[in-house]
Amino acid sequence: MSPARSAQRNIRDVVFVDGVRTPFGKAGEKGIYAGTRADDLVVKCIRELMRRNPSLPADRVDEVAIAATTQTGDQGLTIGRTAALLAGLPRTVPGFAIDRMCAGAMTAVTTTASGIGFGAYDVVIAGGVEHMGNHPMGAGADPNPRFMSERLVDPAALNMGNTAENLHDRFPAITKERTDAYAAGSQAKLAAAYSNGQIQHDLVPVATIKPGQGWALHTTDEPPRPGTTVEDLAGLRTPFRAHGRVTAGNAAGLNDGATAAVLASADAAEELGLPVKMRLVSYAFAGVEPEVMGIGPVPATEKALRNAGLGIEDIGLFEINEAFAVQVLSFLDHFGIADDDPRVNRYGGAIAVGHPLASSGVRLMNQLARQFEEDPSVRYGITTMCIGLGMGATVIWENPHHAEYESFATDQATTATTEGAAA
């Protein structure tokens, strides 16, 4: 790193170069990744990124940040570092582990992106993994008794399904009929995206071996249930509350999977001939009441928009994580967006494809990047998600395929300063 860089302290532009993910699997003994290690899933992603970007010398990767919610066993031992070593990156490449539950990978991206902006890194790999079969949600956690004794958090808030029911209570306008309709739509949109070949390119094939079955190759997601109808969903059990509204059909499942992305400074991307799929505009995290954690994306998005000097009307595409349909609808209602607005989750969402907790953030980014490419008329898009214990995360991205992106690029420094000032 040149001494001049730290002396200048210019904010540098950060671009999303490329992202991949493993096909997502269903957690549990019958799932495709039963018997497969979480770290191996991350390794497949990192190696695929390096293969897809041959102009990126491995020793130019300055950091590997990998998120996992449960950081023990095959997700332990500082997984960013172990994955880098196991992937065959040079030993000079450092790595770390990161955790913000569902927004783990998203936080890996924003944290390393900040490092790029600050001048600490040129190129990074950021991603996440969750093997919920190997690590059931909350396994091994030991919540402080003060949460209970001092009523800091309603015990129900530690169970995500309960928080989704709480959200229904807060927003009576969001009915089970609406959430089921939304969920069926998610399945239909994913099926359409698959048939249009809009998902497959993001996937890294993963071979696994199981006793008595031999090696198999996984090239598609296991969780989707294409053809699901509102009628199918209506009769499902409501496991979190008798006569409740949240079902396995209008929520994301328990899943295994990993994601990883390459981010770079705009300069490094140009120097190394790396593609620019998105430019990072701003990001924000926000806290909400843990009992209604699903509302988190609302304040996070408002904050990120403020940081960027943008309004919600400037956003042409939304990739919002579907932990629960009710949580998506609460966001859409807040911003006055229709349940079936074509700007929202064009390829469906986690209700269909699955949500391996800490990995999902980069999946949203992969999909937004592809939609940017498909739709140059859109200038800005967001990736956003709710987070356990009451948080939200939002990242705003700019489409490099948009007509006005070029003029911006020629005047990069000024824009960066302007946006910095806006924050």
Binding site: R47, P205, W215, L217
Partner: protein, 714 residues
């Protein structure tokens, strides 16, 4: 050959650990089509390699027939074979093959393999082997019979070791390999490597030779192999085979003949043609240059059927599987390892060459401090300097890393005072081979060390019992007999004296394990095992020479045994004075069975170092002046007579050793001569050979090993 016969063969092995053929349909990337991937898996962990027995082959054959049918219907575009983690498949189930009594059954086994493998090459769609790990013999031949191959950079061992085992690579390897990688390379893989300590290829080496068409790293080997297969099937990639040859070309015929001739010379030099298998490999390769693959297959089957019935094959399986792989890991008579005490510092008395070699070995393998002592600073410095220089040599050859070199050097120190042994747990002496000197050394050491400190002697010929006699704690003394060169020879004879206690013995065995040596427990008897057998053998040959047998007759008489070197060469290598010294102590212990040669003494007295002197043209001869020193009798023997007399002498000596209880059984004798003298596995060490040639019956009236252990079943 028929399916019914194969079923009959399979039924002979109801207890076979079957390696199953699991099939998964895979959608190849790029919409190339459906691909059937077979995984060979015995359902056991990586400590239990997959093998190919008759039931395994019948199952694989059935699976391949089914896939051929699907291919004909256009359901699949290719077939792949790979293995459970770390193995493609380890090869034919040798312990099963060894028990095949009837030649016909061996023939069926050979034909079964060919029938199954032939399907791989005739599926109607291309076949691919993904060599993910170890692939030996029939395991590698599955890959060779496939249309295309990928190999993992992490694949451990790839080889066609049949010439070593006593067979030929007769499931197509001997036909395909020379065509695929050229006859010169094929001879290297099929002859030179097996006969050079059974050397194997790494994945990258195999790829470099052209054994595989593509190479991928282990992290996503199966994924990348499948992606590559898709590109081959779609026509996007056509593998180049830079070493492949067309056997019908005239220039290739010349290379082929030259390679076979070179192979024959190599076999002659290595084994004196004492085992039939290596020559048969070359016979089949020579013959099949002008054959079709089917014609070669028939010849391979007949050759295999014949070799499976040889005792050389059965003795090798006994030596390799039963002794080297199994018995050496669980030494007979070793006490419970839980009794072993930790050894955190080692003392070596003496700083001469042997002592320095021991210090280096201990420091490198055990990674504990080692202190050497000697009578003056100059000797001590020389010993330590030797160790440091050896470490530097290893560093220069990149056999160790700089940190490891620093660590090893720092571990080895010297002192002129035995006080340095005060906190040692194990002190070994390597001083002059004189009983009173050794006793004096131990008496001094005992004054300094703790009462639990183990004392060990590296004596090769003195009585450990006598050495323990005046010790305050005789239970702590154990014999620890290494072979020269210490770093290379794998055997360690651990000598139990009458008072040696179990904790001391257990510690000695744990140390041996840490030193990566094969330890055999022996009773305290003159010269223990290996030297006693070697000197009995040399004694017979030298006696025949002294009686008037011409040197070239005497010294070549044992060639049919295929020993690593002739008796006279061996005695020159050991050093005539050393050999004579040990012979004298054996003579003192056992009398005329170990005659002391006056001729040998005259050679020593005249400073002659070797009987044979190699002339400038490379031919060995005995100089006239050497002959003039000696005197000979007038009862010369023929080579056959010398051989028979040596066989009988060995049978007698080993019979006596077993009667004396020197070791637990003939298996330990065999393990000792394999690991300590490098005797060939096709002799089974030595007792299977003595049984085979009738010496055991002639001399002792009974065999050493029951029929079937290392020979044809009764």
């Amino acid at each position: 050959m028929s399916a019914a016969e194969f079923q009959k063969l399979a039924a002979l092995f109801p207890d076979e650990v079957v390696t199953h053929s699991y099939v998964q349909d895979i959608d190849l990337p790029g919409g190339v089509g459906k691909f059937a991937l077979i995984t060979l898996d015995n359902g056991l962990d990586h400590s239990k390699p997959t093998t190919l027995g008759p039931n395994t082959l019948v199952e694989l054959g059935g699976v391949l027939d089914g896939l051929k049918d699907r291919a004909s219907k256009g359901e699949i575009v290719g077939v792949g074979v790979t293995g459970k983690p770390y193995f493609l498949v380890a090869g034919a189930d040798l312990s099963a093959v060894k028990t095949l009594k009837e030649r016909e059954h061996g023939l069926w086994m050979a034909q079964l393999g060919h029938a199954v493998y032939a399907t791989l090459a005739d599926l109607g769609v291309p076949s691919f082997a993904f060599i993910n790990g170890l692939a030996l013999g029939g395991g590698l031949e599955i890959a060779l019979q496939s249309t295309y191959r990928t190999v993992s950079t992490g694949a451990g061992a790839l080889a066609l070791p049949e010439a070593f085992i006593g067979l030929v690579p007769g499931w197509g390897g001997v036909y395909i390999l020379p065509r695929l990688i050229g006859p010169e390379n094929a001879v290297k893989v099929m002859i030179e490597n097996p006969l050079s300590n059974n050397k194997t290829l790494t994945g990258p080496q195999a790829f470099e030779l052209g054994v595989a068409d593509a190479i991928f790293e282990p992290a996503d080997f199966v994924e990348q192999s499948l992606a590559w297969a898709a590109r081959v099937i779609s026509g996007e990639v056509t593998p180049e085979r830079k070493n492949s040859v067309d056997a019908t070309e005239e220039s290739v015929a010349t290379r082929w003949a030259a390679s076979v001739a070179a192979g024959r010379a190599f076999v002659e030099a290595k084994t004196s043609n004492a085992s039939p298998a290596p020559a048969k490999v070359l016979d089949v390769m020579e013959a099949n240059r002008t054959m079709t693959q089917a014609e070669s297959a028939a010849l391979e089957c007949e050759t295999l059927a014949g070799l499976m019935q040889t005792d050389e094959f059965r003795s090798t399986v006994y030596a390799f599987l039963d002794l080297v792989q199994k018995r050496s890991k669980r030494p007979a008579g070793a006490p419970d390892r839980k009794l072993a005490r930790p050894v955190t510092k080692i003392g070596v008395v003496g700083a001469g060459l042997m002592a320095s070699q021991l210090a280096l070995l201990f420091a490198r393998q055990l990674k504990v401090p080692v202190v050497m002592t000697d009578i003056d600073q100059a000797r001590v410095d020389k010993g330590v300097a030797y160790v440091h220089a050896e470490v530097d040599k290893m560093l220069a050859k990149k056999r160790i890393k700089p940190d490891a070199a620093n660590r090893t050097k720092a571990l080895v120190t010297g002192s002129v005072s035995k006080e340095a042994f005060a906190d040692a747990d194990f002190v070994i002496e390597a001083v002059f081979e004189e009983l009173h000197i050794k006793k004096q050394v131990f008496a001094e050491v005992e004054e300094i060390v703790s009462p639990e400190c183990i004392l060990a002697t590296n004596t090769s010929s003195l009585s450990v019992t006598a050495m323990a006699e005046d010790l305050k704690h005789p239970e702590r003394l154990v014999g620890f007999h290494f072979f020269n060169p210490v770093a290379v020879m794998p055997l360690l004879e651990i000598v139990r004296a009458p008072k040696t206690d179990d904790a001391v013995l257990a510690t000695a065995f744990e140390l041996a394990k840490g030193l990566k040596k094969t330890a055999v427990l022996v009773k305290d008897a003159a010269a223990f095992v290996v030297n006693r057998i070697l000197l009995r053998l040399m004694g017979e040959v030298i006696a025949a020479f002294d009686e008037g047998t011409p040197a070239e007759v005497a010294d070549t008489a044992l060639r049919p045994m295929g020993l690593p070197m002739s008796p006279f060469t061996l005695s020159a290598m050991v050093g005539l004075p050393v050999a004579q010294h040990v012979q004298e102590s054996l003579h003192a212990a056992f009398g005329d069975r170990f005659p002391v040669s006056q001729n040998l003494q005259k050679l020593i007295d005249n400073g002659v170092k070797s009987l044979w002197v190699t002339g400038p043209d490379g031919t060995p001869s005995i100089p006239a002046e050497t002959l003039a020193i000696m005197s000979f009798g007038n009862t010369p023997s023929t080579g056959e007579e010398v051989l028979r007399r040596t066989q009988d002498a060995l049978a007698e000596e080993i019979g006596l050793m077993l009667a004396e209880g020197v070791v637990a059984g003939p298996e330990d004798i065999d393990l000792c001569v394999i690991m300590g003298a490098g005797w060939p596995m096709f002799l089974g060490g030595i007792t299977p050979y003595l049984d085979r040639v009738g010496a055991s019956e002639r001399v002792n009236g009974k065999r050493f090993l029951a029929p079937g252990v290392a020979s044809a079943p009764a």
